[in-house]
Symmetry: C2
C-alpha cells in the first residue's frame, strides 16, 4: 500500500439529513419500520416532511459520514457522490470539505434536488430513515476516474449504492479499478432491508471485497442464517477480514481463523444512533491504514461510534476527536 495520496476513498450517496424527534406512534401512523432505511420518491418525501416536526439539517450519507469521521481522526480521506447545484448541495460540499475530505465530484445539473433523508429519531435513540435519492441517482460509472481510485489505499463502498442502477455500475467500476491498481476494497452492507433487496448481488460481489462491515441483522440476513455465530463462519469463508457489529454488545473482527471480540464504548448518553455504524467503519479504517493491530482498529472504531451515539446527527463536531 505505497504511494497512496489518500488513505480512504469513500463512494456513496451524497445526502443531507433532516433529523427530527418523533414518538413510536408517529412511526406506526406512517407505516414505518423502526430502525430501517427505505427509499421514497419526491411526492412521498414531501408528504412525510409535511407531517414531521421541525428538523435539523446536517450533512449525511453513509459512506460520506465514514469519510468525514476518518478525516476528523487524521486519515487522508476522499469522497465521491452526486449532489445537485442547489442549497443543500452547497451544504453537503461545505460540510465534508470543512473536515478535510476531498470531494472532487461535479454537481448534477439535471434538475433533481440534492438527496435528502428524513430521519425520525424515537426516544430510544433509534433512527428510522426515509431517503429521497434525487440527484444521487445520477451517480454513474462516468463519475469513476480510475486514477482517482488508484490514488487511495482503500476504496470504501456503501451497499446502498446497489439501489440506483447507474450507481451499481459505478460501484463495480470502482472495485475493478481498485483491484487493477492493487488497492483494497471495503464494503458496508448498509442496512438489512438493503441486503434483502440485493442479497444475491451482494454475495456475488464479496469476491471483490477485502474488508466487510456489517451489523448483526445485516450479516445474518445476507447469509440467511439464524445465529451470529453461523454468520461469522460464513463471512470467514467469503472475505479475508470482516468487522461485525452488535450495538452495545460490541463487535467481532473476523480474520482468517481468528475472531477478536471488541467491547463497545458506552456513550455518555444514548441520543441518536444515526451514523454509529458509519463512524465505526471510519475509526476502523483510519487505524487500519495506519498499520495498527486489528484490536486497535476495533478500539478506535468503538470510540468513534460512541462519540456519534451521544449526540444528534451522524457527525460530531471535529473537536469531539481533538
Amino acid at each position: 500500500m505505497t504511494n497512496a495520496k489518500l488513505d480512504i476513498l469513500a463512494i456513496g450517496n451524497a445526502i443531507v439529513d433532516v433529523v427530527a424527534p418523533v414518538d413510536h406512534a408517529f412511526l406506526s401512523r406512517h407505516d414505518l419500520h423502526p430502525g430501517s432505511m427505505r427509499l421514497i420518491d419526491g411526492t412521498t418525501a414531501a408528504a412525510l416532511y409535511a407531517a414531521m416536526p421541525p428538523g435539523q439539517e446536517s450533512s449525511g450519507g453513509s459512506a460520506a459520514n465514514t469519510a468525514a469521521i476518518a478525516a476528523m481522526l487524521g486519515a487522508r480521506a476522499g469522497f465521491l457522490g452526486k449532489v445537485a447545484d442547489d442549497q443543500l448541495g452547497t451544504v453537503f460540499r461545505h460540510d465534508i470539505t470543512a473536515v478535510g475530505v476531498e470531494f472532487p465530484s461535479v454537481p448534477s445539473r439535471s434538475g433533481d434536488p440534492t438527496a435528502s433523508c428524513l430521519i425520525l429519531v424515537t426516544p430510544d435513540g433509534q433512527r428510522t430513515m426515509n431517503t429521497f435519492l434525487g440527484a444521487a441517482i445520477e451517480f454513474s460509472a462516468k463519475d469513476i476516474d480510475p486514477a482517482v481510485i488508484a490514488s487511495a489505499q482503500i476504496v470504501y463502498l456503501e451497499g446502498y449504492l446497489f439501489d440506483p442502477l447507474e450507481a451499481r455500475a459505478a460501484f463495480l467500476a470502482a472495485s475493478h479499478a481498485a483491484r487493477a491498481a492493487n488497492r483494497k476494497v471495503a464494503l458496508s452492507l448498509s442496512d438489512a432491508f438493503c441486503v434483502e433487496r440485493h442479497r444475491a448481488e451482494l454475495r456475488a460481489f464479496l469476491k471483490h471485497v477485502d474488508i466487510l462491515f456489517a451489523n448483526e441483522t445485516e450479516i445474518t440476513s445476507l447469509y440467511e442464517v439464524n445465529s451470529f455465530e453461523e454468520a461469522i463462519e460464513a463471512a470467514r469463508h467469503d472475505v479475508k477480514l470482516a468487522a461485525l457489529t452488535r450495538s452495545e454488545a460490541g463487535s467481532v473482527i473476523v480474520h482468517l481463523n481468528e475472531a477478536i471480540s471488541i467491547d463497545a464504548v458506552p456513550p455518555s448518553e444514548l441520543v441518536d444512533s444515526t451514523g454509529a455504524g458509519d463512524a465505526y467503519a471510519g475509526g476502523f479504517l483510519t487505524a487500519y491504514t495506519q498499520g495498527k493491530s486489528l484490536a486497535e482498529c476495533g478500539a478506535l472504531a468503538s470510540r468513534a461510534a460512541s462519540a456519534v451515539l451521544s449526540q444528534y446527527g451522524a457527525r460530531p463536531a471535529p473537536s469531539a476527536f481533538a
Copy 2:
C-alpha cells in the same frame, strides 16, 4: 383584547441558522465581536462559510423563534416575514408551521436566497451571529395586511427590522395598524449593535410600544446610561411595561411604579445561548395573553429561555414543553 384570532403575531426577518462550534481564536481571526450580530453581504457570507466548520441548519430569526416558542407553549401564534422560493425557504416554512404557527407571507421570487445567519458558538455557549439578509430585505409595507394585524391581540416586532429600509416601513405600518385596531404592540430591541445603529429611531418609536423586551446591554445602550438601575427608570418613563433581562441574574419586569424581580432558571447545561432572549419573549407573551400575573409571565419566560440554553439552536423540540 376580545375576538382576536391570534394571541401573538410576530414580524421579523425570516432566517435559517447555520450553527457551528468554533473557538475564540476563530472569532479573533475573523475580527468578530463575541456575542454580537452583524449584517454581512453575500460575498462575505460565502467567505465566512468557507472558513467555518461543518454546520447544522435549523430555522431561526428572532421574532420567528418567539412565535415558535409561543406556539409550543400553547399560544395561537402567527409570523410575517419574507423567504425565497428555495430549499432553505421550504425548511423555514416547514419548521414554523410544523409547530402550529400561521405563516401567510408569500415567498419572494426576486432571486435573492432565503436569509441565513452564520452562528458561531464558542465553548462558553455564547453565539456570534453573521446575518446575510438575502430575500428578507424585500419584506415591505406591502406585506402588511391591516386585517391580519387586527386579528392578533399583540403584534410583536423585532428591532432588527430597522435594518432593511423597506422592513422599517413595514414595521411602522404594522404598529399603526395595531394601534388603529386597539391591539398591543410589543418590541424587542434585538441586539446592542442594532440599538447603536438605530438609537434615535428606536427611542422615537417607543411611544407606539406597549411592551418592551431588552437585555441589559441593549437597554443601557438605548438610553446611553451606565447602570441597569438608570435604564429601568428611563424605561419606566417611556413604556407601560418592560421586561429587562440579565442572563443568569434573571430579569426585572417594570410596570408603572413596580419592578418585579424574576429569577433565571438555570439550564441543565449551558450549551448555546442562541435564541434565549427570543424564548423569554415567547414565554412571557404566552402567559400575558392568557391573563396571567406579571410574576407568572416572568416565570414562564425564564423557563422557556432555560429550555433553549440547554441545547444547540434557537428552538427546542416541541416535546421540551410537553
